[in-house]
Symmetry: C2
Subunit: 143 residues, 2 copies
Amino acid sequence: MKRAKKKIFADFIAQRGLKSTKQRDIILDSFLSSDRHLSIEELYLKLRAKHSNIGYATVYRTLKLFAEAGIAREMQFGDGQTRYEHVGEGEHHDHLVCTRCGNIEEFENETIEQLQSEIAASRGFLIERHRLELYGLCVNCRK
Amino acid sequence: MKRAKKKIFADFIAQRGLKSTKQRDIILDSFLSSDRHLSIEELYLKLRAKHSNIGYATVYRTLKLFAEAGIAREMQFGDGQTRYEHVGEGEHHDHLVCTRCGNIEEFENETIEQLQSEIAASRGFLIERHRLELYGLCVNCRK
DNA sequence: AATCCGATGAAAGTGATTTTCATTGGCATA
DNA sequence: TATGCCAATGAAAATCACTTTCATCGGATT
Ligand SMILES: [Mn+2]
Ligand SMILES: [Mn+2]
Ligand SMILES: [Zn+2]
Ligand SMILES: [Zn+2]
């Protein structure tokens, strides 16, 4: 699926008349082989270790591109940093965020999704996207 | 309930050894008679119309106090501004946010809340708070 | 009224982006 | 392969939304 995402991004680049560059390749590689829920700064620092020539602005702009291309999702967990996570075609999940250690777990619940649809439908509201986050203490942080 | 919240804030002020001031009274009045989900800047501008002597920093600090006192809740809907909404003792609700006109509707769903608890429990996670927001088009913006 | 110390507001500081701009470099074309 | 165009890059500057500082003000207690 790393291959699949590279293909999606290459197609996106081509279809938009953008250019394939060394930096974009490197950033995409690094992003795809990273933990999920990475902040721009975290990815930037990780990249600098091997490629001191890549600028923060390029990482920032490239992650935006990934989001536009549909291979990344921008997230805010309230810690003041924008995070990006991998997303696959048609995939969706929500999060449990530990307020002590910062750990982020994922979950899916079809019943909740269904109830959301019903709530929206009952008001004539058309859902484009949603966010559901449970904040608290993870099993490790409860001691 | 406007009276009730003023009482709660007055008690909070007293119990913390803080001072009752003209500014706090004015800001609380304005906040309580405002639409829900107000940003600091919106409240500040609204206040300036009548009270040009109130500073932004005071509005900012006073809204934080309201949150600490339990009569306001700080929210982020992804538009880059922190918003504050009125909250009552033990009340909770989630939101439908229109991405076109910015309108915010509220809803409560006990079944969803229950499912959240079950998800957390199954992982040993202790929920402190959560946020559930449905983004999309409100009934008016769907044309 | 005097005193104490929290409250206020104008201005400065912060931190995370976001934009600018001079320079670089894909890549289509000759 | 050489040329030209214009997108891409990166260092630095600018923004934005707070957040803090600090000199001064003003409730509340004595
Ligand atoms: Mn995730
Ligand atoms: Mn609300
Ligand atoms: Zn934890
Ligand atoms: Zn709308």
